[in-house]
Each structure stands twice: as C-alpha cells, then as structure tokens.
Subunit: 384 residues, 2 copies
C-alpha cells in the first residue's frame, strides 16, 4: 500500500470554514483519542474545561461502572487503561452525568437506535481484533440492495457479501444466510458484526471457504434500516412481538430464491448454512426446520430457541426429522447470557436425538463481542 | 408496503438490558426529536434536567448562531421552528456551551471527521427533500468494493450504484463518475449526497436515464473510508496539498478500465460523464482535459478550478481542445461560496471559446445542501 503522507498545510482552511458552517470550529489543538500505547494500554482524552465530572464507560473496563477521568492542563481529561488484548472495544464518555460520544473519534457504530464509539486493536495476527481489522488481503464486495418478497408483497432490503474474486470467476459458491437480532437490520452484521473483515481475513488465510454471505432485514415491522426506509423510521428493540419469527420464517423461501437466481450459487444442503444471533438464532432454527433438507449447517448464536415447555419440545421433535438433520448444529452462548438455559436445553435435546451438535461457551453475555467470535468460529466449520 | 405495526410489549426487555450493558439506560419516557408538525414546523426536544443552557444549531435557522431552547417540565428542553420547506437538514445541540448530538435521533451523517444529526422532510412530491427520501419505487443496488490501480500499485475502495433492473437486464448503461471533495471518501456521495435516493427517484420519474454511478475514493493519502481502511485511520480536511489532484488524475484510467471490464457499460463519450464537488470538480475538469474524447458531460459543483493566473489559463487553453469539447460543461456554485469567482471565470472562459456551458447559481455556500441540488439537476441533463 502507498505510504501515508500527511501534509498538514492550511491550503484548504478557507474551504474548511465554509464547509463546516454548521459546526462549531475549535482552533485549539485537537486531542488524540483513543490512543493505543506501545504497551497496548489505551489512553482516552476529552477536552472540556467547563465540565465538573468526566467519566469513561467501556467494555474493556472490569465492570460496567464508569471510571473517573482526570483533568489535566488546558481542560483535557484523560484515562489510561491496563494493557488490553486485541478486540473491538466500545466506549463512551459520561460528562456531568450524561452519556456522550468521543468527539475525537469518528469511529462509531449504531446498535439499534444508539450510537457508540468503537476502536479496534490487535496485538498479533490471528487475535480477535486482527480478524475485525482491514488487512492488505484480497477484498470481497458488499452489495446493499433490495429483493422482492412475493409472500410479503413487499420489497425488502438485504446486504450480500461476495468473496474476493467472485466477479472474475466462473465458480459457484456456497451461501451462509446470516440473521440479526431483535431491533437489528441488514446493516447489523456488516457494521457491528464486522462480517466483511472476518470473512475477508479468514478466506485470505485459507481458514474459511470462499462463500457468499446473505444478510437480509429480518424485522417484521419495517423493510429497511434507517436512512433506507420510507420516512424517518426509528427502530427500537421493544418493537418485538411473541410471533416475531413468523414473517421471516414464512417468507424465507423468497430470500433463497432471490439469491439463487441472482448469484452463482452451489446447490444442495451442504452448500447452504443458516445462522443468526438471538432472535436470528430462533429464526435459523425455525427456518432449518421448516425447510427440511435445505441447510447442511445451522448456527445458533446466543440462541433464544424456546424448547422449555413440553409443547415446544414436541413441536421441535416433530420438525427435526433425523432424515434431514444438518451436518452440524453449532450452538454458541455466553456463560453470563440470560438465554444460556435455552441453549443448553437445545444442546441436550440434539444430543439425546443423536444429532450432530457442537456447543461453545464463551465468557460474557448477550453482546456483539460474542457474536463476532461465534461467526469467526462458525465460518471455519462450514462447507468442508 | 406493509403497514407498520408497533407492539410496545416488554417481551424483549430482559434481552435489551443485557444487550445494552455498555449503555446507560434511562427508563424515563423517551422524547421525540425531531418531530415534524402538521404545519411543517419542526420541534426538537432534549432531556437534561441538570443542564444550565441548551441551544440548537441548524442549517434551517436564519443564521449559524445557536438559538436558545426552553426548559419545560421534567427537564425536557424544546424549540419549534417556523414552517420549513422540504430538505435534508443538519443540526446539533449545544449543551452548556458544548456541541453534542441529539440522542433521540439516530439519523447521523459523517462529514469528514464530524458526525451530525440530520432529518429529511418533504411537503410535496418533487421538492428537494422528496428526492432525498426513500419512496416505493424500484431500487438500485449499491456495491461497496475495491478496485486495483496498477498506476498507484494499490487496491482502492469504490462505491458503485447500478440502477434498478441492472441485474436482470442485458442492456448496457451510461456511466457517471462522481467525485467527492477534500477530506471525503467513497462514502461521501452515498451518505451526505443521498445519491442512491436521488437517482432511484429521478429514474423512477423518468427524469434521468438509468445510469451507473461510480464513486471512487479520490483522496491521495488513504485508500478507503474509516472502518474500511487499514488501522484506525482518521481523515481530516487539512490533509490537503497543492497537487492533490495529481494521483486521481494520473490513475483515473484505472478506474475507467475497472468499471468497463466489470459492468455492462455503453461506450463512447456520450455515455460517460464526470462530475465532482470542490476538489472533485477540479479533478473532473482535469480528468476531462487529460482524457480528450472520453467524456461527453462534465459537471463542476462549487468548482475550485484555478484559471485565475495567466499560466493556469494558458494550461487550460492548451488542454481544452475544441475538437474534444464535451456536449455540456455544467457549472454550479453558490452565491455565497468562496470559489464563486473561479466558477465565473471558468464559465466566461468556456463562453469565450464557444464551448457548451451552463451556469447555475444557487443561494448559499460550499455545502452539501447545494451539491445534492446540483446532482439532482445535472443527472437530468446527461445521456440525452
């Protein structure tokens, strides 16, 4: 890659002022935040001479409680962490008791309706953070488009990753259908899940097969993410309902038909996988059951599969015909996740029936930090 | 479209709490902000019982100065505007003198390194805001991918819009190459420019020809937008240099070759247009000159074309061979834009040489609000 040259001239200053007419410009030296130090500790900085208290909240801290930042010269508050492992970390400041983002770090992710700063760091090739970063590997393409669902009578939005070389190859590719959770949309796995980076890196390393990854919008109450939906739609996680799996389940054949008629797709159940997180894992399980013989691999990340009543277990038994058992049921869940009980029940059920099941338990709860790990693991296990 | 049903149940609450472990959750009723009222005035709300002052800054206000919001019951500050016209508007709050975003509105755009809230509104079909919104029309596809530039010895990032029907058609399409400004990247025209919505809407109305729109990363010092670049790259507008047009100009044949070998493209200069804003307009002018006979339409939005020295004008004259004059030089600039003088000079130069030139002067300055309008106009004038 071209060496990055930074010529800090003032050539464009007059343009900058007019272009930023809406913005309060500060001519004080900007602070660098976050800054990864040589020992892999990270320093956060925030300039606000008038603030009474400034705190830092982040998923790299021992607890969820905010820690105090210390005011230094010139009104710059700072905090330095212990050395950290490679990861994608989330954080925000708390200023005078109010949550706010770090104005020095433009890296932000939207989770449902909330924007949060993030940063990635890696300490060596192959650590978690390394898979979430962009490296000088061949890069796949992300298509953000719409498909028509005759079942729903609507166009719906979908994100589709094709691996590096897809456009110039004549090969047919296996497909992973990857479903988001409640309140999410077709951007969730892309932005929060770092799916593009994980797949680019795993494929470049030869650890995952080149595959297409299909990320449809799976929320029943809207057809697209904010900015791509009609009106100023604002999603909320509480827009759920007990039968929220129904529509995506009923209409999933429309997704498959669209993909298989628009992409060079290898056929057969061993070239199809379906996986999802939380609500999406419930959908993955349901879709694999309602399309027997369609999917060779099913991934349930923090699975909220409800097999904890006799009725639910009977329904599960009825639909999980051993004849069509996938090559792999992969179940991942965090030890502190509220749905762990369900995941364990499903594992036990699969084992009692002799289904091929793998169970992976990580630390932590119902969070994207786990789902990125589960995708990284699952993607290496499929289509092989 | 499916009717939007909102079932405000608490089914997912336990998940919400664990999923949002990094976030300070408030169980007070959320405030709605912004809210477009029946008379097209807009109300902004912000809850902060501890704030001493809360102000609103927005490009719909008479001046750039913040206006005071008024504290009401329960610590909710509010402000209601005059009735507004259809538009995409930008705003932020100023709390205790410090700029911050509206936590109730997840619609945000990044301009270089700054995130700002936005909202769209339209009062009738065909007003400015209407073109920036998503309607129930056929939708094109946005591919976010990389191309190889042999000239630069690097992979570089590029966003490519293909119109609705491209994938299922066998037709060949004309191509608009659309270039961003200093500090921008391959996301700028997509997110700030609302290019996808403008083109979808114009094409659906029959006002623009179905076309491919190619938006390469045109910044010399990095090859991709933040999040898609190696490392935690943070762009800044001041990373400019006097010869910043050089590399994109030198390597532009690589962009054209990539597009023409990867897409079904109609050939010939009357099927190619190049346009850009600010730095991108300088590049558009330079590229059209260095590729004589390649482009039938050249758009210069807030053009910083430097023809104000005898040397620059001589260079312009040498490269603007009337034999290869495009069908249209389209120049758009704001009456308050600092580069207006250059735009007028270029217009006069083109007219003195008998080149086909159109000049459009809008209100306002060097801002995206103008560039969206210029794209809307220019897209209707090309390939016809």
């Amino acid at each position: 890659m071209k060496h990055i040259r930074i010529a800090a001239t003032l050539v464009a200053l007059s343009l900058a002022v007019s272009a930023s007419a809406q913005q309060a410009l500060s001519f004080k030296a900007p602070v660098k935040s976050p800054e990864v130090n040589p020992d892999n500790s990270v320093t956060f900085r925030y300039r606000n001479a008038k603030a009474l208290t400034v705190q830092l909240q982040g998923d790299f801290l021992p607890t969820n409680a905010p820690v105090d930042m210390v005011e230094g010269e010139d009104g710059v508050w700072s905090y330095t962490t212990q050395p950290l492992e490679g990861e994608l970390y989330l954080y925000n400041f708390v200023v005078n008791g109010e949550r706010r983002n770090d104005p020095s770090n433009m890296h932000m992710n939207r989770d449902i309706a909330t924007w949060t700063n993030f940063f990635t760091m890696s300490t060596k090739q192959g650590d978690k953070g390394w898979y979430y970063e962009v490296h000088e590997t061949p890069h796949g393409t992300l298509a953000r488009r719409w498909y028509n669902s005759p079942t729903l009578g609507a166009d719906r939005r979908i994100s589709i990753y094709t691996p590096a070389g897809y456009e110039t190859s004549k090969a047919k590719y296996p497909v992973l259908y990857l479903l988001h959770g409640s309140g999410g949309d077709e951007d969730a796995w892309v932005d929060l899940g770092r799916t593009i980076q994980i797949l680019d890196n795993l494929i470049a390393e030869g650890k995952a097969k080149p595959m297409i990854v299909v990320m449809p919008n799976g929320v029943y109450y809207n057809n697209a993410a904010p900015g791509y939906a009609v009106n100023m739609f604002q999603p909320t996680m509480l827009n759920s309902r007990s039968d929220s799996t129904k529509e995506i389940e009923d209409s999933f054949q429309d997704v498959i038909s669209f993909v298989e008629s628009n992409y060079r797709v290898a056929k057969g159940m061993y070239n199809r996988a379906v996986a999802g997180l939380s609500m999406g894992s419930r959908q993955s399980c349901a879709i694999s059951r309602s399309h027997p013989g369609m999917f060779g691999y099913v991934g349930m990340f923090s699975g909220a599969v409800l097999a904890d009543t006799p009725e639910a277990e009977a329904a599960l038994a009825k639909q999980m015909d051993p004849k069509w058992a996938p090559k792999l049921y992969w179940i991942g869940v965090g030890s502190a996740d509220g749905v762990k009980r369900n995941a364990v029940k499903l594992r036990d059920y699969c084992e009692s029936k002799g289904y091929p099941v793998e169970y992976y338990e990580s630390d932590g709860g119902h969070v994207w930090r786990n789902w990125r790990v589960y995708l990284t693991i699952f993607a290496q296990k499929i289509f092989k």
